[in-house]
């Protein structure tokens, strides 16, 4: 998967207004659309002091909302920050929109916004193992394959995992969930 890092610091250390957020949104949208299928855009917030809720909503939450609604298919968004506190307002805005976003903070990761526990549980399994089929997820969580498949589909719709199609050993095709973050090599 191709990965591009985009620093928001070019818009200032303290962001900001909806107007500025809209400008950032348009640039980020173009950067996402220019990625090949499966590409990840990592929004780097390093060195920033303030990310206001209004800016975050206009630049990032609305962009993620467009991804969820299918405006650009098979591209993924993540954020990277030095400090979790900076992400509070963004997380609140994502929750209001019913969205979730993976954030890389220090050596760890966290999910911003709103993610129901049953999906959070599935997401953690995908991240922990890197790649999972619904059958494997079903075994790990002790749930039906159909249930596991639904969870992976929902995570994919929220752009929290990447789904790839591969040949099944016994013939036919199967879908495999691929984590957007790696536990030992963060994006």
């Amino acid at each position: 998967m191709e990965r591009k890092v985009y620093s928001l610091k070019k818009f200032g250390r303290r962001l900001g207004t909806r107007q500025e957020g809209k400008r950032a949104h348009d640039e980020l949208f173009r950067a996402l659309a220019a990625l090949p299928p499966g590409g990840r855009l990592v929004i780097d917030l390093s060195g920033m002091e303030v990310l206001s809720g209004s800016f975050a909503d206009e630049a990032l939450a609305s962009l993620l909302s467009e991804l969820r609604d299918g405006e650009i298919s098979d591209r993924y968004l993540l954020v990277r920050a030095d400090d979790e506190e900076l992400l509070e307002d963004l997380s609140e805005r994502l929750s209001r929109r019913g969205l979730a976003l993976l954030a890389l903070v220090g050596d760890g990761h966290r999910v911003l916004g709103k993610l129901p526990p049953y999906l959070a549980e599935a997401l953690e399994q995908v991240i922990e193992r890197g790649r999972l089929t619904s059958l494997e997820l079903a075994r790990l969580l002790g749930i039906s394959v159909q249930n596991a498949s639904v969870r992976l589909r929902e995570l994919a719709k929220l752009r929290l995992i990447h789904m790839v199609q591969e040949s099944r050993p016994g013939g036919g095709v199967q879908h495999r969930a691929v984590s957007l973050v790696s536990l030992n090599r963060h994006s």
Binding site: R14, T17, Q19, E49, S52, G53, S65, D83, L86
Partner: protein, 276 residues
């Protein structure tokens, strides 16, 4: 009257209003005018001028208090709306947006204004990450609310947005205000809140994060500010129309006070936060 602050101003406003648009504002005995009161006087003077009158201001006898008031930029900003009983001393304008009341009109200017104020603040004393985040975040959200919400239907009114920040021994005082349509009129554009009173609008915005927009990503900024101020042991005062909301050691909401257009916000953050 020794100090003109939020509380004293609320008590004096009905008396001043009896003489509107030529109210007599007697500050002769005043020794201290806080930034909320100074900015409010500028708005009030502007109101008087727009109504064809002028505020008759008896300026403080205390040279320090008068210099302070002149230094706030009140007389420069609202010159056409103020008559004074004495000539005013020359006080240098620091020009960095700090201590001085600054106009907020266009959204495009908000970022630069907040940066200028925060840079000036950082030069005066070291700011921890939390403090700058709290202060700059509140300033950005409140200041952009003026171009976005103070005149949502583009009516023939001038919201005349103002911003001021001032440091004291024990706290930092941030003030953002306008004389636009106010919270109830802005919120009332959303059919869900049509006919809402000033007090109900304050509660809807500050407690429930209501917005005039139906977009779920909009609104909630004032509620977040209230939560952050509360978490950092600060004090918040919001006035809109004929109601006000106070949050400090207690939460207090009053409806039926002397009406004044727009939204006026005062945030006091303990200075200890800035060394954290």
């Amino acid at each position: 009257m020794r100090t003109l602050d939020v509380w004293r101003l609320n008590r004096e406003l009905p008396n001043w209003d009896r003489g509107f648009p030529r109210p007599l504002v007697d500050l002769s005995r005043v020794r201290r005018v806080d930034p909320f009161a100074a900015a409010f006087l500028a708005l009030y003077a502007r109101q008087c001028a727009e109504a064809g009158g002028r505020m008759r201001l008896l300026v403080p006898e205390s040279p320090e208090a008068l210099a302070d008031l002149v230094g706030s930029g009140l007389f420069r900003l609202a010159a056409e709306g103020i008559w004074t009983d004495r000539s005013l001393p020359e006080v240098p304008d620091e020009g960095d947006g700090f201590s001085v009341i600054t106009r907020v009109d266009e959204e495009a200017e908000v970022q630069a204004t907040v940066d200028r104020v925060c840079d000036a603040l950082e030069e005066r004393f070291p700011l921890g990450e939390t403090s700058i985040r709290v202060l700059a975040g509140a300033m950005l959200e409140l200041a952009q609310n003026i171009p976005q919400h103070a005149n949502p239907l583009d009516e023939d009114i001038d919201p005349w947005g103002l911003l001021a920040v001032r440091e004291y021994q024990d706290h930092i005082h941030l003030v953002v205000m306008d004389k636009g349509v106010g919270l109830s009129n802005s919120l009332g554009l959303n059919t869900r809140y049509r006919g809402i009173s000033d007090g109900e609008a304050l509660e809807a915005v500050l407690i429930r994060g209501a917005s005039r927009f139906t977009d779920p990503g909009r609104g909630g900024a004032l509620r977040r500010i209230r939560e952050v101020v509360l978490r950092n042991e600060g004090r918040l005062f919001v006035r809109s129309g004929s109601a006000w909301f106070w949050q400090a050691e207690v939460e207090w909401e009053i409806e039926g006070v002397s009406p004044f257009p727009g939204v006026q916000v005062s945030i006091q953050l303990p200075r200890a936060l800035f060394f954290g």
